[in-house]
Symmetry: C2
Subunit: 409 residues, 2 copies
Amino acid sequence: MVSVAILGHGVVGSGVAEILLTHKQKLFSRIGEEIYIKKVLDLREFPDSPIANRFTKDFEEIINDLEIRVIVEVMGGLHPSYEFVKRSLKAGKSVVTSNKELVAAYGAELLAIAKETNANFLFEASVGGGIPIIRPMNQCLVANIVDEIAGILNGTTNFILTKMIEDGMQFEDALKLAQELGFAERNPAADIEGHDACRKICILASLAFGKHVYPESVHTEGITHITLEDVKYAEKFGCVIKLIGRVKKLSNGKIDIITAPMLVPAKSQLANIDSEFNGIMVRGDCTGDVVFYGKGAGKLPTASAVVADIVDCCQHFKERRFLFWTDGNSSNIIHVNESIFAMYVRVKGADSIAKAEKIFGSVQSISSNGGNRVAFTTEELPYGEFTKKLQQLAADGVEICSTIRIGNL
Amino acid sequence: MVSVAILGHGVVGSGVAEILLTHKQKLFSRIGEEIYIKKVLDLREFPDSPIANRFTKDFEEIINDLEIRVIVEVMGGLHPSYEFVKRSLKAGKSVVTSNKELVAAYGAELLAIAKETNANFLFEASVGGGIPIIRPMNQCLVANIVDEIAGILNGTTNFILTKMIEDGMQFEDALKLAQELGFAERNPAADIEGHDACRKICILASLAFGKHVYPESVHTEGITHITLEDVKYAEKFGCVIKLIGRVKKLSNGKIDIITAPMLVPAKSQLANIDSEFNGIMVRGDCTGDVVFYGKGAGKLPTASAVVADIVDCCQHFKERRFLFWTDGNSSNIIHVNESIFAMYVRVKGADSIAKAEKIFGSVQSISSNGGNRVAFTTEELPYGEFTKKLQQLAADGVEICSTIRIGNL
């Protein structure tokens, strides 16, 4: 019997308990031992739970229980998650978490502690919910040098954008619907401002390139400024707008990483990933593009990824899974101004296109409203150069309504 | 240092050698030991190879070399692959293979031997080439009960169908082009008649449901009878035609497994998987649908999956990876006539639709050529019932041109 403790009995935590109980036999036949939920930490009471008598409000009961070998952190947030996980790893207990905020902020430190105490620290569920991505990237792609990762990593924003694209809904209405359907939280900032997607691309970048990438080092834009007008122009340019987390390895050894809405060509495998689904493209030097697709969030999908990690821990108490990166800083990340993109620009004003052509050279344009409202796309150029040229265009009397990167995905 | 031997220096074998040599450092840092190619078995000479002096024509040199702990079988075909792999496993050596024909024909027996001698028998590359699928299914989805697997498992036929759909090419021309581009072999029977896809869905079904499914037990149709006319009608019905391998678990515990061309709704994630790419959908009770997409064949993609398995063997000499199924027979597979599908039917003749409606009840139809050429789709019904009704329709004087299943994917 392997005793585990679950920290948190919210959406994911209750899902983990549910799967461990309902899939008991299947898991037993895999591991050859029962996975026993010895304790669940939560400040609330759950008198109707089949394991109501195993709840505790005191973490000390868990950390001091020598029988508990795996700690499952599914509370979310940074504190006290960080302190609990750190103490658990220091005590030599293996830790499984779905907490992307935690891994993105403290991954390198926690992995180093795990290495020191020969424990496992696994977090498959932190990216892509129920989609297997961390383990395939880490194991199956071991024979590849990863050149690029790009993904739709946040289901809430993808749901909102899909509603805007397919049903012509305004941003605010789509957000409200997402909240009603439970796809968005009451405070949706972390999602719609891109922070959640940023944390996830940071985790994937850290794993792929071996050095921790902190979210603070990554230029991050959300989707709050995307309008229906942009969505419609994008369609005319043969694209859809998606919130993309992307990291690329450059020939100088540095990485180019960003989270931002992008125009994605309709033919891209990422263009067809709709609603609350996530999709992640990993480009390896040997495999070429591999795409993983599925539900990026939700109780049971996420919980099933957590349980897979628990099983992995149970099968590897004596040896560590190879999952590691060292600490890093922003010195190996290029500045957003050096990052090269073709750009989409929506403007207002007479003669906009002639003016744009003078400044940007050749552009592709689509106009409406008798030519007074125009959107154009530029060739690829460094973002810093783009913003300077855009200032010139504004100085020439053209009103800049919006700009969006074009993802060559 | 871990010594390995590679059986076969064809497309995949030379790719494996190439990756082991070019990614030496990366692999070393993962395993902590060098992977050393001690022998390569091939009847041909490769005097220009950087490891020319390690070639042998004699398997005995390999099997009797106690230093060689991992044998990589990438010869393809059943014999002598089967004999070599069996002897290797019996000798306690771990075996990695990309040979789907071998795994589909002898998987249960070889896994049983591997279990007996505490060796590993891994075959990630046998399905989906460079796409991680066996390992994610086996590990990441351990917390799921798999309900259904459906995939585009053969790149050659998908390339041909894509050319028919997108460029309006005839089947023969598309096949010829595939051969010219190296996507199809000179003898393309295994691909275009569906046998290759069938072997792969058998492997996935065996893994998911725990009992060996032999290709002989699976109803298999290829794409040779698909015409441009069908492709165009499919489009009008909002579908594309894809060669699908599919297995479903039924409530009576039996499985429904088939390899056949199907009309796939354009909105399905499998509909957008084009050209030589493969895509595999796994439906779990917890995760919902997860889709894996990438290059299903080719030298380096396939070789990179083989190398990932070699690494896994090197990390697990003392314990076996859990990858197992027992022998099986056709008794737990329903007969093709019991399998339920909505059907697409293309016919010729006056009053075809009125006659079809009398026999099939409500149908959806699209006609051309002044109503003399018609395609219709039926409601879902058991395939045996469908063929009987089709005979009635023919007896009523309607010429049956083609029938294709509609995949509810």
